[in-house]
């Protein structure tokens, strides 16, 4: 229960101040992914969630069939300090039936 309390307080904005709270360490990107990915995978048009990097910075990637305005609004820009990037992959097929556009 104590951990839940910490997690909730981490959701607030001033991350630096929060990090000085004894016993609260920043969650790993894998933990943040695990916490939210079911929610994101349920958004229509989302086909995957993973971890990538750009310019040496880790980020969460949300893979989508097509990058639309609606998805850009529904997928948050960040989660608990980690940036989230939408990547248009198209549908993923077991390869004999992969379709090129």
């Amino acid at each position: 229960m104590v951990m839940v309390g910490f997690a909730v307080s981490c959701d607030h904005r001033s991350v630096e101040k929060q990090q000085s709270v004894p016993g609260m360490s920043k969650q790993t990107i894998e933990q943040v992914q695990a916490k939210y990915q079911d929610r994101w995978m349920r958004i229509p048009g989302v086909v995957g969630v993973g971890i990538g990097a750009a310019n040496g910075k880790m980020m969460i990637k949300v893979l989508v069939v097509k990058k639309t305005m609606e998805l850009e609004q529904r997928v948050p820009k960040e989660a608990e300090g980690y940036p989230i990037v939408i990547e248009e992959t198209g549908e993923i097929w077991a390869l004999p039936r992969k379709k090129k556009n």
């Binding site: 990915q37 995957g48 969630v49 990538g52 990097a53 390869l95 039936r97 379709k99």
Partner: protein
């Protein structure tokens, strides 16, 4: 004219259409006798002194529909002459084990894999048709690592890791979809028919993933250690 003919012959020889390679290397066309579809034999794997070709369930085991012992052909039937030949001249292995694919959104998978015991009369080599042999040390995927693969359709291609710990929905035939977790995402390094290729590190050939899915923009592979542990096999690393 000469240049055109050479290019054509190279591509055909790779899949073994007219002149099946002897010995059979890895990274070439294979398929199940009971369908006209082709994938790739990514590697030779071994346990208890027995050698097997490694590929996907959807290449060797017809997406769960196969019976153990079904014939594996090299090349796969789309690459035989005539196309989709039913004489099955190149029976090289027999389906031994496959990991069942769990369809639907409520269960998840980590591998799409199968192994087929190489027939005693089939000469083979653990070297790829791209003239390299996988290392016996596997590699953990890290974003931006450079990789390559040797496959039936696009032969040797290079790319890099673009995502790790990926959870992804993958479409199969008949409108079925399966959820995969802990997958490795790569830049687009494959086309249909490359399924089953072994993805290795570009500089030292360390096995990283079993290629099985993709789109026009990306390629997805299973973590190779999950594949090897599932069948309790090791990759043959001597040519």
């Amino acid at each position: 004219v000469v240049v055109e003919e050479v290019g054509d012959i190279r591509a055909l020889a790779f899949t073994g259409k007219f002149d099946p390679p002897n010995p059979v290397p890895t990274g070439v066309s294979v398929g199940n006798k009971n369908e006209c579809a082709a994938g790739t034999n990514g590697a030779v794997v071994r346990k208890n002194g027995v050698s097997y070709f490694l590929s996907n369930n959807h290449v060797f085991a017809r997406e769960n529909n196969a019976v153990i012992g079904e014939d594996i052909l090299q090349p796969g039937r789309p690459d035989s002459v005539p196309r989709c030949d039913t004489n099955f001249p190149n029976h090289v292995a027999d389906l031994s084990e496959f990991k069942e694919i769990n369809y639907g959104f409520l269960s998840s998978n980590t591998i799409d894999a199968a192994i087929a015991q190489i027939q005693s009369g089939t000469p083979f080599t653990c070297e790829t048709a791209c003239s390299y042999t996988p290392s016996d040390t596997t590699a953990m995927a890290l974003v931006d690592m450079e990789v390559k693969k040797c496959g039936r359709t696009t032969m040797e291609t290079t790319g890099k890791v673009t995502g790790v710990n990926v959870t992804v929905f993958v479409d199969y035939s008949g409108g079925k979809s399966a959820l995969f977790t802990r997958q490795i995402q790569f830049s687009d390094i494959a086309e249909p028919g490359d399924s089953g290729s072994l993805i290795v590190t570009n500089d030292d050939n360390q096995p990283m993933a079993l290629l099985f899915a993709g789109s026009a923009a990306t390629t997805i592979g299973n973590p190779i250690n999950d594949v090897l542990n599932n069948f309790n096999v090791s990759i043959c690393s001597t040519p």
